[in-house]
Symmetry: C4
């Protein structure tokens, strides 16, 4: 209905696993997790040579395939731009994960637990150790995943006035932490990517679980990255 | 079925974005957010010359278009009054946002986070600074939005025995804080408005996010309005 | 399908507001609120001369009208008893609210906030004051509701080994606190009733809101029943 | 559709209580409870001579009967293995509950409350006492359930690098605590079983309720296993 020169075939599909449908169903999911409150946060999926992006400033739990932007990955040109919508300001940050890590999807959340973790440390990294859920986080340098006895370290970058200005420091963090699948942004949230949309989701959920657990541990006087103090 | 002289055409529509349908679906949404527990809170939408209002004292997650009041904005007379229901006691407060700010919608929540924030300060304002989510809050005096490095200040008014008696102090707060899109009511909740229903929702969600985060920061010994203490 | 001598007409109706349907939809609702976790808690509705009861020990979010017991209120005899199910152990407690207060519905929750409030005081009552949500609680002695400046007092009874053994002390609390619409049970939960099912739900939600808020106030070093410390 | 030699009749049924359908609907339920975040946790149901298992590393809230493994319990051989999926690493732990306790279902959660409870004690057990919800937990040695005045004790085993390596210590805990229906795994989660899928669910929910309540009690300075300090 009056979508003009937007390319409908790029986003309309009966397959619930089509990237345009997945962005919609996952954004609903993320809304219930508190990750995309107040239009914040989002997700981008790269499928073959296409990048699918949610628009900026819309209710994430109510977007439909009609609202999805599609970019040609090799040329970085938009194949589909819904009229009267703007692409997300996160776009260059999502692209960094696709370009530098060959990611299949990138999730950005404003999770309060992520923000609190960036506030609980003044340093440039956040750590947690010896929790089973760590094992869901990949460690490319070993060809596998973090182990239960490992310490997981996630870089934190400082926030900027404009979201796109995070790109340089996010790319630097990606370079400096070759094992990381995520970058925390202080007082802002987190970017998490994965080889596929499902891996990105698993990693984003697992990190958020760890952020939440760490906040509770601090409230209870425990160090989330401290050694195991188990049974004698 | 026996709706008497109520005007059905004003509220029955197949368009999910019709104000009467939106009030119903948004109230369900707000119920899951804990904003309208126990029939408290609500939303009013102004569309062209009509103001749509939910009734008083009903289960907000179960209202239907049949329950919606419609007022003619220019004359302030009810065009549709569902039999055996009363308009919300919040009506004069919603109207203040429409009249004084030309708002398109106004949301009232009893959010516990909002109440806790009013309890954590004895002063007549609540503040938060340096959190990304602040950027979702408009700052009319600049023609734009708050920036990450700004401090957001929301006025707090004292609660009264009867909700309608809040009107005068709410209008005074609106006048004294020309940049604010919200007024906190101590030990009660918050009123948030926006140019459109979606902007009102975005702003209400973003403020609630900030209220929640601020409460957690206080529990962890941090000042929500304090300076950034970042990486060295 | 093999329901034997159970009376189908008593519980099968297309009206979503039929008591048997309401018990099912409200139990789903209460499950998401954390009130009926692990088959605990429940609701009974009295409609004309019939009392509708959920069975004992079933998944509250999955019950269907087929599972509902129906009792004749004047004679206290069961008109419908689903085979292989037992009536809830809460039955005599629900009945106390119907008999002594002419309630139209009674809700029992195992809400953790309710349990925590009974643990935060050693006395035989729990109190909260000066919160807007108090105004949803009826005060029969005044013919109206509690006001914002009132202190709400809810009696606490001690738990017993068997739920039915609570009946005597619950009835005593009802007699001693003629204004109360609820009785807390220490280390167990709360019973809340109302003139209609909707009033019972409103009051149960509002009390739970107040229990949650009070727990958070204590965590933040504030007295939920203390005086207002507002703006100077 | 190209499922090869998998046996469709084993998992496709219109009965919502068929084990394959129940695993799917319960995993959705558990996802909303935060038990299976990031593909962690799961459930296995034993029905007659068949054991039904969810696959490893999939989104638990999105699994379908097509994804379910079926094992022949007497011979421990897989009757149905969905192509390109792996059985859960929890399988030997689920099997321990079926073999040693004749359980009808076993639930594994990564509940943060469970993890926090294992962190709040250095010992090899976790305890809670005098809470009504304890009465949902069976006590086989008495032929009944725990009573309100009893202390519930749940064994804690230490986590290992690989989930299957937990089997020996889990079996040892089952032997040493003949009354327990659950084993906590430090810094990992909990395994809970029951005679039927519904009993397993009731017990898992009730334990999680107790874990959550205990964490809140500790935050408020109370001992979850301490004596009753009631009204004078």
């Amino acid at each position: 209905m009056g979508q003009g020169n937007s390319h409908e075939g790029l986003v309309f599909s009966k397959d619930p696993n089509h990237p345009a449908n997945l962005i919609c169903s996952l954004c609903k999911n993320f809304y219930t997790l508190g990750w995309v409150t107040g239009t914040g946060g989002g997700i981008s999926i790269r499928h073959e040579s296409h990048v699918y992006l949610a628009p900026s400033g819309v209710q994430k739990e109510r977007i439909t395939p009609r609202d999805i932007f599609v970019m040609d990955f090799p040329t970085k040109t938009y194949l589909r731009s819904p009229p009267s919508l703007k692409p997300s300001a996160c776009t260059p940050l999502f692209m960094a994960s696709f370009t530098k890590r060959n990611a299949g999807a990138c999730i950005h959340t404003h999770s309060q637990a992520a923000v609190l973790c960036t506030l609980l440390t003044k340093g440039s990294t956040w750590s947690v150790a010896n929790v089973e859920q760590i094992k869901a986080i990949p460690r490319p340098s070993t060809g596998g995943y973090y182990g239960f006895f490992d310490k997981l370290v996630i870089p934190i970058i400082e926030n900027t006035a404009h979201e796109e200005d995070l790109t340089e420091s996010l790319e630097k963090a990606i370079d400096e932490y070759p094992d990381t699948c995520a970058v925390l942004v202080r007082r802002h949230g987190v970017y998490v990517w994965g080889d596929t949309v499902w891996k990105a989701k698993t990693q984003a959920e697992s990190l958020d679980y760890l952020f939440q657990l760490a906040v509770e541990m601090v409230k209870l006087g425990m160090d989330p990255a401290g050694p195991i103090a188990g049974a004698e």
